[in-house]
């Protein structure tokens, strides 16, 4: 029982220890193996790393509350793509032609609304049918992706608005726009999870759903709200990213759900729900981005990066299982 009490701290601490380890390793290894003259821990490099963490990171904050609930959302990559299409396409709609640069907030709002509505669809189905969230969002992942292709076929949807690009590329106090969004989302979600009734209920439901129901918590609406939150965050991630790039391919965002889940799980959130933290998730997001960037820095190719991340994920889950086993009395299955 004592381990059960300590593991959250060990786990949150462990992922940050791992982040530090990565920094040291890549700095040292970079000295000998890197093709570039720049140090790995170079300031610009680190700022870029944070910026590149944002698309996955923003969604991962929403996935944390979904997974603490004991659910999962596989459709975030498709929501990401569909929100991007809505954002870029709506900027060129004739109806908004007279708005000038005011089209930007309107398109942003439309894209974010798209995310919330798609999330609400997921949440409503999970609530009202009682079908497992894994199955529901597996279906909506395919369905939402289908909508993306219906919209513009195999063609990319593009719209470059230079005001928007300037905004997206701006640096305020050194941090890029995308990094600011990640930081703000992280702080808000941290407050939600640790300081609000909603966060408290999320842990209670994931830990013991029956006891939560018996305490009068309305579990269905709670779950619906969480799916709307993650839908919103998937759309926000798209909005931030595509404001800069200005072009979305119908396949964009594929496998995002898996990267997001990897980051959340690395950060110590249990797949069965009831335990997890925003701080841990942030560590998981940075750990993955550091691995990608660091392995690239010392000359590894993408395939190697994926192989290493896969191995690390399994190693972490194995360690987690060892930590959580309740001694020898646990049934062997």
């Amino acid at each position: 029982m004592q381990t059960g009490k300590m593991t959250p701290y060990i786990k949150t601490g462990a992922i940050w220890a791992f982040v530090v380890l990565e920094l040291i390793f890549f700095s040292v290894a970079g000295e000998f193996m890197s093709l570039s003259d720049k140090a790995f821990m170079d300031g610009d490099n680190m700022l870029l790393l944070l910026k590149q963490s944002a698309p996955i990171g923003i969604i991962a904050m929403g996935m944390t509350i979904i997974m603490v609930n004991g659910n999962i959302d596989l459709s975030v990559g498709a929501i990401f793509a569909l929100a991007a299409v809505v954002l870029l396409d709506s900027m060129s709609w004739a109806a908004f032609a007279g708005l000038g640069d005011w089209v930007i907030p309107v398109s942003w709002a439309l894209a974010l609304l798209t995310g919330i509505v798609l999330g609400a669809i997921n949440g409503l189905i999970v609530w009202k049918t009682g079908v497992d969230a894994f199955i529901v969002t597996l279906g909506s992942m395919l369905g939402f992706r289908g909508l993306v292709f219906m919209y513009n076929g195999e063609n990319p949807t593009s719209e470059l608005n230079w005001t928007l690009v300037d905004f997206a590329e701006a640096q305020f106090l050194g941090l890029h726009t995308a990094t600011w969004f990640l930081a703000i989302v992280t702080i808000i979600m941290w407050y939600v999870m640790t300081r609000t009734v909603h966060g408290r209920n999320a842990y209670a439901i994931g830990n013991n759903r029956e006891a939560a129901v018996n305490a009068g918590i309305r579990v269905g609406p709670h779950i619906l709200i969480n799916f709307m939150i993650i839908g919103f965050l998937a759309a926000l991630s798209a909005v931030v990213f595509y404001s800069e790039s200005g072009s979305v391919n119908p396949n964009d965002g594929q496998l995002y759900e898996l990267w997001v889940i990897t980051a959340v799980v690395l950060g110590g959130t249990k797949l069965t729900g009831g335990a997890g933290s925003i701080v841990g998730t942030l560590g998981g997001v940075l750990a993955i981005q550091l691995l990608r960037k660091g392995l690239g820095h010392i000359g590894a190719d993408t395939e190697t990066v994926n192989l290493v991340i896969g191995l690390i994920l399994i190693a972490v889950l194995f360690l987690d299982r060892q930590l959580n086993r309740k001694g020898k009395e646990e049934l062997k299955t």
């Binding site: 029982m1 004592q2 059960g4 009490k5 407050y191 300081r195 609000t196 009734v197 408290r200 209920n201 842990y203 209670a204 830990n207 013991n208 029956e210 006891a211 939560a212 129901v213 018996n214 305490a215 009068g216 918590i217 309305r218 009831g274 335990a275």
Partner: protein, 504 residues
């Protein structure tokens, strides 16, 4: 019982868990060709005993002796190889596989290169099924069978070895009357083949119909073995719940107020029918009956977890519909559930968060939880209920049963409910804490709460209740006042004996 060597003998089995002596010197013997009933209320130690027999738990003391050979059980599979076979209440079958594959799961007959010898498998299976006279064959998919027939598959599994003793755990729980007849035939068959049978059930009529002897456990202690033909339902009930109760009522006198809750002709399908009662403020209404009498189901209905099929519920004279626990809580009905760990507490959360869980949405400052207010509530009820914990940060899973129960009670008291329902208030709680909880319940009534206590323990229900509703098989047999009630008339009522005042 021609053979004098017992098929299975237990000698002084002791098993303790932290804080609980689950089995305390249990000894009895099952003869070949005997149907031996094992009885006891929930928590009496039957399941622990079965786990010891199946090698899931190792006894601290005592011996298991199979055909006069002391045996150490290490797993259910090993127990089976020694001839001890379990037919569980919850079936453990692979529904997608055939009957034959299920019966020989893990021991499929093989040909060369690890190929399954299907023809041999089916032939062996059909031979066993023939003995059982069932209406399906070896190739039937288990998922397509009725529950009764699935049970037959479990029994068939037992027959693949030379069984010395077969243990049936509540085998008729989900069977129809016709299916029971078939099961009893099979048991008679086993019996005539010299197999010893341990039959665990709460159903008296079955016990008296098919068993030869009855052994009774209570609070982990062996109460004795009687010959079925020489006793009756009342005698067995008394062994199960114990006599010589010397619990005098705490001398609390207070006024009883208005009717807080009234239930009229409430029914819920097969679970209970035409239940009517009233609870007044300042009164403890006890519900007493054996397992399956429908008491918990009534509580679940009042708490919005079940919808009644007929009847009405009135709070302070107004008819109400309660569709969910959230509704119930809003109306001031609270439930301290039977299964504290499964239904009452979020074990991974700390004491404070558990205590304020139902009302945390009212304890806010702006968008955030007002943790100061929460801690104040926790401190108040920790002192009031004397909850022993190092502090509010302690994870509830680390507390003792008694303190956990106080957290659940404190959780509801802090919301000042109109009606407090406590289902099995002292299950799994050590003796010292039990009387504390009992006093607490009396005190709450004195403070003007309307309290419903559901209990399977007669001393408890006699001790805390002002009036007692006796239930038997889904029906209210009688409502006693504390002056009227005696052990004898209460036992008669919950055994379903109402017609004759004297026992034959």
């Amino acid at each position: 019982m021609t053979d004098q060597t017992p098929a299975l003998r237990l000698e002084g089995i002791v098993k303790t868990f932290p804080g609980v002596r689950a089995l305390d010197g249990v000894s009895f013997a099952v003869m070949p060709g005997e149907v031996h009933a094992l009885m006891g209320e929930n928590g009496a130690g039957k399941s622990t005993l079965m786990k010891v027999l199946g090698g899931i738990h190792q006894p601290d003391e005592g011996q298991i002796i199979v055909s006069e050979v002391p045996t150490v059980m290490t797993s259910p599979l090993q127990a089976k190889s020694k001839g001890i076979v379990f037919i569980h209440q919850e079936l453990s079958l692979a529904e997608e596989l055939s009957v034959a594959e299920n019966i020989y799961l893990g021991e499929l007959p093989l040909k060369s290169f690890g190929r399954v010898d299907w023809s041999k498998l089916y032939a062996q299976t059909d031979a066993i099924l023939e003995k059982l006279k069932v209406g399906f064959n070896a190739k039937t998919r288990v998922g397509d069978l009725s529950i009764a027939n699935q049970q037959m598959v479990e029994i068939a599994r037992a027959l693949t070895v030379e069984a010395k003793a077969v243990i049936f755990d509540e085998p008729t729980a989900s069977l129809t009357d016709a299916e029971k007849v078939v099961l009893f035939d099979v048991i008679a068959d086993l019996k005539s083949n010299g197999v010893g049978i341990i039959y665990i059930s709460h159903r008296m009529e079955e016990i008296f119909k098919i068993t030869d002897r009855i052994s009774v456990l209570r609070d982990g202690q062996y109460q004795g073995t009687v010959v079925t033909a020489e006793t009756n339902e009342e005698g067995v009930t008394q062994m199960m719940i114990g006599r010589k109760l010397d619990l005098s009522r705490a001398a609390v006198t207070h006024d009883v107020g208005d009717i807080a809750l009234e239930v009229r002709d409430l029914s819920c399908g097969q679970l209970y029918q035409d239940v009517s009662f009233q609870v007044r403020r300042g009164e403890v209404l006890g519900f007493y009956g054996l397992v399956g009498a429908g008491r918990t189901e009534i509580a679940e209905t009042l708490f919005g977890l079940r919808n009644p099929s007929a009847g009405t519920i009135h709070l302070d004279g107004n008819e109400v519909r309660i569709n969910s626990p959230a509704d119930a809580i809003e109306m001031g009905i609270s439930l301290v559930p039977e299964d504290r760990k499964g239904q009452g507490l979020v074990l991974g959360m700390n004491c404070r968060d558990n205590m304020t869980l139902p009302q945390v949405s009212d304890l806010t400052a702006g968008p955030f939880v007002a943790e100061g207010a929460e801690i104040a509530i926790f401190d108040q009820y920790r002192d009031k209920l004397d909850i022993r914990t190092p502090g509010w940060k302690q994870t509830v899973g680390n507390l003792s049963g008694g303190n956990q129960q106080k957290i659940v009670i404190g959780k509801w008291l802090s919301m000042h409910p109109n009606v407090l329902i406590v289902d099995e208030p002292t299950r799994g709680i050590d003796v010292g804490s039990k009387s504390e909880i009992h006093n607490l319940i009396r005190e709450l009534a004195a403070q003007g709460y309307a309290v419903i206590v559901i209990s399977s323990e007669m001393p408890e229900v006699l001790h805390v209740s002002d009036r007692i509703v006796a239930m038997y098989s889904g029906k209210v047999m009688r409502t006693f006042t504390s002056e009227e009630v005696t052990e004898d008339n209460l036992i008669q009522a919950i055994s379903g004996i109402t017609a004759a005042p004297k026992v034959a």
